[in-house]
């Protein structure tokens, strides 16, 4: 039986191929395995092939997701520094923020591996600060972002040409759905309000 972690991937030539693909050099059929390297998921790498224009589209989707993750990091920072979160909630918020940081790092690394340029954090985010008066306001704000992120990933999963990327996006989706459920629970709402998400 083949060991999943033993797949050998010539990562350097693949990166070069992707850069060439993104520069629009034509109809090269590319292996997308470098993507699966994120999070140590080398096993996902086997056999995926995407065309140059599909790769470009995948990178665009990843960069949009990266922008949203960076915004989530900033939003949790705002919450953590608001002074509104109790001692019991603050560590949870910081853990959730650390997940978003991990998502962002993984997405940025993947964009880079695919020859794209990862988006950078904004200098300033437009958050509804004046509406955050008590802890519940902060938690509702965070829950709204997490809820939207679930749908965003759900809407992105079927679009990836590279199925390994779709799997990674689904993995992030699962984590953000857990954040949403916990936040709803803390707010006294039904943590899992439906059997399906859209």
């Amino acid at each position: 039986m083949k060991n999943d972690t033993s797949i050998s991937i010539p990562s350097h030539p693949l990166v070069i191929s992707r850069r060439r693909a993104l520069s629009g050099s034509g109809a090269a059929v590319l292996s997308a395995s470098a993507v699966a390297l994120l999070g140590g998921r080398e096993a996902l790498a086997a056999g995926a092939k995407v065309r140059a224009e599909e790769l470009e589209s995948d990178v665009r989707i990843l960069n949009t997701a990266l922008g949203a993750e960076l915004e989530a990091v900033a939003a949790y920072q705002l919450g953590a520094e608001s002074g509104l979160l109790s001692k019991a909630i603050l560590p949870v918020a910081i853990v959730f923020q650390s997940h978003h940081k991990e998502h962002a790092a993984a997405l940025a690394g993947t964009v880079q591996k695919l020859g794209g340029k990862p988006v950078a954090p904004k200098e300033k985010y437009q958050f509804p600060v004046e509406k955050l008066k008590v802890e519940a306001d902060v938690l509702r704000f965070a829950a709204g972002l997490e809820r939207g992120a679930i749908s965003a990933y759900l809407g992105a999963v079927p679009l990836f040409a590279d199925r390994a990327l779709a799997q990674v996006a689904a993995s992030i989706l699962g984590d953000e759905a857990m954040h949403w459920a916990v936040l709803r629970q803390v707010l006294g709402e039904e943590p899992v309000p439906s059997a399906f998400m859209s």
Binding site: S57, R60, I61, N63, T64, A65, G67, A68, E71, V119, Y125, Q126, F127, P128, G144, L145, R147, G148, A149, I150, S151, A152, Y153, L154, G155, A156, V157, P158, L159, S198
Partner: protein, 127 residues
């Protein structure tokens, strides 16, 4: 008298239907909240003042794809309905990597709510 009562009934039913539509539209908009807000530019542009605005011109938002900037679209019910059904197919190259709101009824409710909530005067952009 009967005519007036009938008119009131119809008007009342229409208002209730409208409220239901808007409530459903707001629920659908929750899916957009990962990237969008009415009153602020986020990963995606703000929706305040959306209707009648030329695509790619939300004030203060500078992360548009060239596809959106060059689309020459103007946002109204028709263009939103077309775009939101399948953004990447409707406008190849868009940064909105989202499969779309496939259900016609949900899309219609969403657009109705967006129209109501994004009216200048009903919303105030975050400075």
């Amino acid at each position: 008298m009967t005519g007036l009562a009938g008119l009131l009934l119809v008007t009342g039913a229409s208002a209730a239907q409208n409220a239901t539509t808007l409530a459903r539209g707001e629920q659908v908009y929750a899916r957009c909240a990962g990237c969008h807000a009415i009153e602020g530019n986020r990963t995606g542009p703000q929706h305040c003042g959306l209707f009648g605005r030329r695509a790619g011109t939300a004030p203060g938002y500078n992360a548009y794809s060239s596809a959106m900037r060059d689309s020459h679209w103007s946002w109204d019910e028709k263009s939103l309905n077309f775009f939101l059904q399948d953004p990447m197919k409707a406008l190849p190259g868009t940064s909105m990597g989202y499969a779309g709101v496939k259900d016609d009824g949900e899309r219609s409710d969403l657009i109705a709510w967006l129209k109501q909530s994004s009216r200048t005067g009903a919303c105030k952009p975050i400075p």
